[in-house]
Symmetry: C2
Amino acid sequence: MPQVHDYIRDGAAIYARSFATIRAEARLARFTPEEERVAVRVIHASGMTDIAEEIRFTPGAALAGRAALLAGRAILCDSQMVAHGITRARLPADNPILCTLQDPEVPELARRIGNTRSAAAVELWGERLEGAVVAIGNAPTALFHLLELIAAGAPRPALVIGMAVGFVGAAESKEALAASGLPAIIVPGRRGGSAMAVAAINALASERE
Amino acid sequence: MPQVHDYIRDGAAIYARSFATIRAEARLARFTPEEERVAVRVIHASGMTDIAEEIRFTPGAALAGRAALLAGRAILCDSQMVAHGITRARLPADNPILCTLQDPEVPELARRIGNTRSAAAVELWGERLEGAVVAIGNAPTALFHLLELIAAGAPRPALVIGMAVGFVGAAESKEALAASGLPAIIVPGRRGGSAMAVAAINALASERE
């Protein structure tokens, strides 16, 4: 076969050069080591170094997320893309990964609570929220409703990754998360997405790069 | 339960307002109607209106992708996130969605061809490439190797969605796609990702917004 194109074909070398490029270009000095690993992977997943100036960590949030994963806590995801993007081999305790969006009771539950299916799916997390790592990479309504459930007495997760994306409610839901007092990692504004949320989980899951 | 937060809880209203915001803010005048639907959804998935100025369509590419989906052609994906993000209910012909990255022969094949697992997975698409819609939302090496396989005589897809992301090879692989003569939809440079690739497929799958 003709090797028409000149490119790096070694996966480990690609990762190493990618992370070196990010560390050379992005402004990472304000981060703790754990935060830096998260920021680098979120930048890697998005191709945007300026995320380094935007991403916010509440104090201790990255450590709390890492500790929860080491303790075997569940990872609760708002979308199938997030659930399927997490690299299972990196998880330290074969952590359960849960996305309830396709559960058969979700459409009826959404009608009953007068909210989106993404929000209804969060209600099904139930007691598994206790000490869990929550990854919101898509739906602002899932994040808003999570905050409502916790305000009403639902168990508190160890960490909420707030990376809802888009033009209606994304910025506002992440502001509400920042104001909630919950340990959080947030990409504010309209940007976000499942790839960023996955990158944050993959960074917390292992110190290996 | 206290409704602490004031936000839109109706999924259809959220979509409508999102797309209206995008159409009010993004520069979409240069697009055909089919291209515009793709651009709007890619912007929606990324939270970034300036994608409108970057995204490229080869002439007729969006129509070719739509026709291939109507004809029941397969959707071949470079990552599980892309495969799991596509909204099956939007597909016009129950199109098969294929991601071969987790196939058991991939690691050995990657060693044999001296390339990444993402590139090796593309070799397994075989004859299913003929007239297919290819969605590359992650790996530059998958896109480079696809171009090599086609240059060596592999079947030609109807459309290649080139949205590989990152710092090593992403920009270059998408430039190579643009130069290949294949029908293509491309987000150039470092930006891209599985959410954008999924959005393009979902836009081509149905005219419904």
